[in-house]
Symmetry: C2
Subunit: 244 residues, 2 copies
């Protein structure tokens, strides 16, 4: 048996998230169907983690075991031929049997885009939160320091998660602006459910003066979801990279 | 009567170009219909020029005369509410009666995007030419010098144009690369039919070694369309800005 690692790019707009499920088409289902057809055997994917409905990925990572003899390169070309336009394999390689897309991951990086202009953008409408009110960038940038480092992020997690610990280490958090486009770039050793989207929603509330940067200390300490900001919508979120 | 200038952004994918026509829906038709409804009178747009089917715009400029009393700002908000997602007004202002979107224009700037990677991009598939063969960027950049300045661009024009002169002045031509994305950025006092797309096609042929930079001198002098390169497809082309 071979273990194959792939990097996948997808536009999440038309999918019910990455993970295979009953109530709608998921990216995983499309990939597994085409792979199983090419390999001539049932293929099951491990992924670095799920992404929600509407969330995009530039660097989702998956691995799978197969007895197929097709070279990795040929498999990627055949797969891209069969896949719909909104899913692409951008890298493929044979890896040691011990590699697991989820358990071997050291950290993940996400980008969240905000289109901050009086007018929406035709080209970013499916890839950014459209936010017409003025955002105070320096204040938002000041706020990022309170989120960096190791914290209990319970206040930034939706729903009841079955996770053992709510402590995560945010290793990088940066906000850039290029004309009307704001990019929140965040890396951590792991993320809780909706964590990036709640962090972005909270930073936006700080950017309009509804909250202050220093409030983040209290929000984190409260471990209370209601104290943090709104959950930013999925279309602005991109899983950028998984590091091993 | 007031004269109103607007800047329009649109994704050309679903339109038969900018200019109103009989065989398909054009951006102009959508804009004129909504504007006429809001102004309560028939509105006819002047534009900086047509764009072909599938071509996009970040900065198409139009003007129109109206006796409507609605403030420009309110008109833009109402218009954006009525317009489909792929057309947006990004700027609006009252201008002197002498202003004409086409005849007052001093120069135009276009961008053409090429996705130069072994794998297509999910996010650029509708906005770039996907070109998997390796392109020699320095050679293409060297070639741009031959196209800058005032030349007779007959060799870079498709079909029989009714224009008086084929002489155009290319005031800027630059090729940038950011990872897999190549951007051809070109400004001129005017463009012939398909001129940018033929220039890009010719630069691509130079980038793969099919033509040499120095060939451009002969191609220009020949005034023969068959000597230049292929016409790059419309989806990579953006009308970026019209200067007055």
């Amino acid at each position: 048996m071979r273990n194959i690692k792939m990097i996948i790019e997808y536009e999440g707009t038309n999918y019910h998230g990455f993970q295979r499920q009953h109530n709608g088409l998921a990216v995983q289902e499309v990939l597994e169907d085409k792979l199983s057809f090419l390999a001539g055997e049932k293929v099951t994917l491990n992924s670095s983690g799920r992404t929600d409905a509407g969330v995009h990925a530039r660097g989702q990572v998956v691995n799978f075991f197969t007895s197929s003899k097709i070279s990795a390169w040929k498999l990627s070309l055949a797969l891209n031929n069969l896949l719909p336009d909104d899913i692409v394999v951008t890298s493929i390689e044979d890896v040691p049997k011990s590699f697991h897309a989820r358990y071997s991951a050291k950290s993940k990086r996400y980008c969240y885009y905000i289109w901050n202009s009086s007018f929406p953008s035709v080209f970013w409408r499916k890839y950014a939160l459209f936010f017409p009110r003025k955002l105070d960038l320096p204040i938002m940038q000041e706020a990022t320091q309170y989120l960096q480092g190791e914290h209990n992020f319970t206040a930034f997690c939706n729903g009841k998660s079955a996770v053992k610990s709510f402590v995560r280490h945010v290793t990088a958090l940066e906000i850039r602006k290029d004309e009307h486009l704001l990019t929140v770039d965040i890396e951590a050793n792991g993320f809780l459910y909706n964590m990036v989207r709640i962090i972005v929603g909270t930073l936006v509330e700080i950017g309009v003066g509804k909250k202050e940067p220093g409030d983040l200390k209290k929000i984190i300490a409260s471990q209370d979801r209601k104290k943090a900001g709104f959950t930013a919508p999925p279309e602005g979120l991109f899983l950028q990279e998984v590091k091993y």
